[in-house]
Amino acid sequence: MELFVPIMVGAMIAAAVYLMLARNVLRFLFGLILISNAANLTIFAAGGLTPEAPPLIASGAAAPPEGVANALPQALVLTAIVIGFGLFAFALVLVYRGYQNLGTLDSDEMRLAEPEEPK
């Protein structure tokens, strides 16, 4: 597990960067969603991955037994997922609105805010 997850994160980031290099804004956005999930997995892995060892504290004890995963990163990931969900919903609507208004998804053609210099 400990080896498998980082490799998966690497693969996700590679795929995400590939997608984000595209001129199509929608592909860029998919890349962004992928890379954000890779970041979430990184945090998840940072807490340690221990199968079949729930981080439960026995009654009367002050700390969980040795060898369990840290549960805090999982709470952090949940927060990050929720925030990320909101942001991507907004970004998706923005790109759609941009497509309606500008008539293109090609970032090279989005030059309204920064018009090309007259030659």
């Binding site: 945090i43 923005l94 989005m110």
Partner: protein
């Protein structure tokens, strides 16, 4: 007032105001709630600053969960000063928005988003927890997204897509950095991190520090990560771009200052030398970019980038000279006031002369000499003319680099100042000096009286503040010096957050 109330108050107020401003968004009440509320937030910020100046850094634990387990709110001198300056900018822009924001934009929730933005900025300054900082960044981001595209013109959509996507990447880098830092040290409380990183592998920490540097670098718009800024800041309403220009990038600079003095000090020779190169490259590219522009607000946008370089410069030299860090903090405060003010002036120029493209406007000096005067104060201050605030800010940084015998850094800092004058005179020469291409003479009197007052009062107020800082810099320098001392020797900060920690 008890500490448990004093610290969260500047944070809670904007959220409460946001709710009421949203409820009353359909009428004129909403904007006045926003103005009065901003004044209250400013007062709460000043109360906090007075308390911090009298008693040193203070901290409170949310929900009484002891640090490092709970979320800590902490204010040292730097945080408290930033909260006050956020309050000042917020109040100025809220007054300006009374005239600048149309009822249609108000009905879409401008004031609610604006107050949420201020809450996010204040939260980022006050939090003592890294993950909480991420959350405040997100609060700030989502509010800024909304403000940027409010109104939904084509240009705003175009700018919005670039702004949103590039800022999301920086957020993700920041988040991954947090994950790796937690995996390495097992804590996210910034004060606790200060101790925890001392046992961590320095090589790994430097990698994480670089991730933070890129993440915060995008927010702060440093070279080569600044492209989203000049693509976006000239598109929304003027009130929005003024608050963006004043506050948003500075949150990135603040976060850098905090992390690279409190936590990432393991390899100063690498990280802070990198910062030095970034700083100089940022100054130079920003000012050259501005020289190529012909739009009032786009020139100013590029100057934000260039000025950020000065602040990063002060941070880069922090461990060689406390004087430089003090200069960076002084610069931060001065720049927020001056930059927000210049964007407000651009708004009035747009209102009365019908545009922001320099070739299409003119005659402002003839028709509106008061506006010309109010433009010259922040413009000269930005360029660093004595006796305005920018002179002292630049003077301290240049002197610090000369003291360290970094001649080339001092040379670039001075040359960029000179180029800044070039851009400011370009605006002056086209917008104010030459006659209007259509032969009209734009005057402030063309505006209805109420609008005129709402637009000019905040500009004049900020200009007066610039002059006060310029004429009586001792007090401000003393506060900045104290903030720099606290950053370089964080023992009071650490004690405030963690209580007495046994020294080894």
């Amino acid at each position: 007032m008890s500490l448990a109330l004093l610290l969260p108050l500047p944070l809670v107020l904007p959220f409460v105001i946001a709710v009421f401003a949203f409820l009353f968004r359909r009428g004129p009440e909403g904007r006045w709630i926003s103005v009065v509320g901003s004044a209250l937030s400013l007062i709460a910020g000043i109360a906090l600053l007075i308390h911090v100046l009298a008693n040193g850094p203070v901290a409170t634990q949310m929900g009484d969960w002891a640090a490092p387990f709970g979320i800590t709110l902490v204010a040292d001198t730097l945080s408290a000063v930033m909260v006050v300056i956020t309050g000042i900018t917020g109040l100025a822009v809220a007054v300006y928005a009374v005239s600048d924001i149309t009822p249609a934009q108000e009905e879409l929730g401008f004031h609610a988003l604006f107050q949420t933005l201020l809450a996010g900025v204040t939260g980022a300054f006050l939090t003592g927890d890294l993950f909480n900082l991420y959350v405040w960044f997100e609060v700030m981001l989502i509010a800024s997204f909304g403000l940027l595209v409010l109104g939904g013109t084509k240009v705003q959509m175009d700018a919005g897509i670039k702004y949103v996507t590039l800022n999301l990447i920086s957020t993700i880098l920041f988040l991954s950095g947090i994950g790796l830092l937690y995996g390495t040290t097992g804590t996210l409380n910034m004060a606790d991190l200060h101790y925890a990183v001392q046992d961590a592998d320095p090589g790994l920490l430097t990698v994480i520090a670089t991730m933070f540097l890129v993440g915060f670098g995008v927010k702060a718009a440093v070279f080569p990560l600044f492209f989203w800024l000049p693509a976006a800041y000239h598109t929304p309403s003027f009130a929005v771009s003024a608050v963006f220009a004043g506050l948003l990038t500075k949150v990135g600079v603040y976060a850098m200052m905090r992390m690279f003095t409190l936590v990432f000090t393991q390899d100063v020779a690498f990280t802070h030398t990198l910062l030095l190169w970034i700083a100089v490259a940022t100054m130079v590219t920003g000012v050259l970019g501005a020289a190529a522009q012909t739009d009032f607000r786009r020139i100013l946008s590029f100057h934000i980038v260039s000025q950020i370089g000065y602040m990063v410069l002060g941070l880069a030299l922090a461990f060689q000279s406390a004087f430089a860090l003090m200069g960076a903090i002084f610069y931060l405060v001065h720049h927020i006031i001056v930059k927000a003010n210049l964007f407000l002036v651009a708004g009035v120029a747009n209102r009365i002369s019908g545009g922001n493209e320099l070739s299409k406007i003119g005659g402002l000096y003839k028709g509106a000499p008061l506006l010309g005067f109010l433009f010259l104060i922040p413009a000269f201050s930005l360029a660093g003319f004595p006796p305005l605030s920018g002179f002292w800010a630049k003077y301290v940084l240049v002197k610090a680099s000369l003291d360290l015998q970094l001649w080339w850094v001092a040379f670039f800092a001075l040359a960029v100042g000179l180029m800044t004058i070039y851009s400011m005179t370009k605006i002056w020469g086209s917008a104010f000096w030459k006659p209007h291409p259509e032969g009209t003479v734009p005057a402030l009197g063309d505006l209805p009286g109420d609008d005129r007052r709402a637009l000019i009062v905040p500009i004049a107020g900020l200009a007066v503040l610039t002059i006060i800082i310029g004429l009586f810099p001792e007090e401000f320098i003393a506060v900045a010096a104290r903030a720099a001392e606290e950053l370089l020797d964080p023992s009071a900060y650490l004690t405030a957050v963690l209580g007495e920690v046994p020294t080894e």
